[in-house]
């Protein structure tokens, strides 16, 4: 697409079973920030695909969409890569957006690369920040090597500038009741993909509360020596009315399930209180928990990056302090 002809910021309004993804709202809020930095002339458009989903349009307005492109078709009822790819490519070719944002969710990461490939443009993966530089260029920040290195990625000539964005890095607006905008209803022709069939779905059974719904988390990292130590953290978490979570190494070694992993490749959390134990704090981990209310960390290395985001710290071997802390809390609870 010719750069000069492209205008507007698009957000793919991901929905499943008629429920919008929370990340849609985060992207709409960030789109307003980008719009302002780009001079205020881009329209913010939510692109909504599905079947019988027009009831979601007002919600998108409430969270900041100025325009909604609604493409309804029975073959878009459930997400499927190739029908969604075709419709998004057709719409992008018709309206020529300058920026096209997706959640870095299983759906966003499944469809966005195909759309990008068809449009012969660039797609930045799993951005943790979006900005406009001093030259007015849209810049995406992405982590590499587990977050130890960051990159600034630009898509200079091709359009749209496509990005998948990590969930929960931006704050959504408070929804504004009665907000309205311009609705564009697109009647789209699209075949079902008969070569891709979902035969059955089984929901996961989670033990305990999902970590992104907990007020208190005790998280263990690479420095946790044994599974018995991990069980102590679990005991502590339960004493505090919370759950145990982990950074990536404890998922990699199989001690903890993926759904209990905090960070870029796991879950983003925002508890009232988090205790990080033996976690050094990669950027990916920090991005996954830095907005927590009260952050406390125990790590025997004083220079660990985890302390950069911690309100409280204790530079000590966790094996000395965790048993003492469990005893102390039990004592206070007994009184």
């Amino acid at each position: 697409m010719v750069k000069e002809e492209c205008k507007g910021i698009w957000v793919f309004a991901e929905q499943e079973n008629g429920v919008l993804s929370g990340t849609d709202f985060e992207l709409l809020a960030k789109a307003h920030d980008l719009k302002e930095k780009l001079g205020g002339t881009d329209t913010i458009t939510a692109v909504l695909l599905g079947d019988n989903v027009s009831g979601l349009v007002d919600t998108l307005y409430a969270y900041g969409a100025e325009q909604v492109i609604l493409a309804e078709n029975v073959n878009l009822k459930e997400y499927s890569a190739r029908p969604y790819e075709k419709v998004l490519v057709d719409l992008a070719n018709k309206y020529k957006p300058s920026i096209f944002l997706f959640a870095a969710s299983p759906i966003g990461r499944d469809v966005a690369p195909r759309v990008m490939c068809d449009l012969r443009t660039g797609l930045t993966a799993d951005a943790i920040d979006l900005d406009v530089d001093e030259d007015g260029v849209f810049v995406q920040t992405t982590p590499n090597f587990g977050g130890n290195i960051l990159s600034h990625i630009v898509i200079l000539e091709k359009r749209p500038q496509m990005v998948t964005v990590h969930p929960k890095v931006f704050e959504p607006f408070e929804p504004k009741a009665g907000a309205t905008g311009e609705l564009i209803t697109e009647s789209v022709e699209v075949e079902a993909d008969n070569d891709y069939v979902v035969l059955e779905t089984s929901m996961k059974q989670f033990e305990g509360k999902p970590i992104d719904e907990c007020d208190v988390l005790v998280a263990g990292g690479r420095g946790i020596k044994t599974e018995e130590d991990l069980n102590q953290l679990r005991e502590l978490a339960h004493l505090l009315g919370g759950e145990v979570a982990c950074s990536r190494p404890l998922n990699d070694n199989g001690w903890m399930p993926h759904e209990d992993q905090i960070g870029q490749s796991g879950t983003t959390v925002k508890p009232k209180f988090i205790l990080n134990v033996a976690i050094s704090g990669s950027v990916q981990y920090l991005a996954g928990m830095q907005n927590s209310g009260c952050i406390m960390s125990i790590n025997h290395t004083a220079s660990a990056p985890i302390y950069d985001v911690s309100h409280y710290g204790a530079v000590i071997d966790y094996r000395k302090v965790i048993p003492a802390l469990i005893d102390e809390i039990k004592r206070r609870k007994a009184n």
């Binding site: 068809d118 590499n144 977050g147 600034h152 070569d195 993926h258 309100h311 409280y312 000590i316």
Partner: protein, 261 residues
Amino acid sequence: MKILVFVKQVPDTDDVKLDPVTGNLMREGVESIMNPLDANAVETALQLKEKYGGTVVAISMGPPQADEVLKKALGMGCDESVLISDRALGGADTLATGYPLAKAAEKIGEYDLLICGRHATDAETAQTGPIIAAFLGIPQVTLCGNVEIEDGWAVCERLLPDRTEKVKVKLPALITVCAEANEPRYPTPINIMKALKKPRYTWNAEELGCEPDMIGIPGSPSSNKRIFEPPKRNTDTKYFEGEPEAIAKAIADVLEAEHII
């Protein structure tokens, strides 16, 4: 059945540093390995071959030393290898990476199943698989666990955060494989010996029939403007010191103040 499996060479650690002078990645002393998730992809390919018959071709793109990961793939049991290597392919973004890989699949031809790891541990884009599938116009199933073949279809377990789907996809198709899918085997001495006699190809961009404006830096819509180490944040951290019991008391005081206990 012909299975193509795509493997990438990555640094053997997340603990990479930048040269303070040049700002480039310091690669010295950092070993290169097969991307761990690509080892899962190879394992899936080999298990399917053992169960349903066929051949497995391992494909990698990179400088000549990327051949090491292909040797490993052959040592694990793959039948053939293809190294795509050409200076003109350097500096590629994901689009300009997926394109020559798709071209290689076309050149090999008559493929049934293409397998990638879920993502590579260096840039973690998870884009290469879907881009290859888009170039070839074939369906994809990302985030696979177990995979079976039934009458020209692959039946895949798809591991999503909140659920597992059972998806049937018509071959030819591309799948990406999660770490949970299997436990990759190690290369065996006998396979390493056999690898010496297996067909091994090295193709450049011209041999693949790549359009020059679709590869390397000219073919890359996105570019890396700057790499940097994450900035230090300034939070005033209050540190607890002293004996473990004293620290435990201080922590418990904070928990009380925060109304946690």
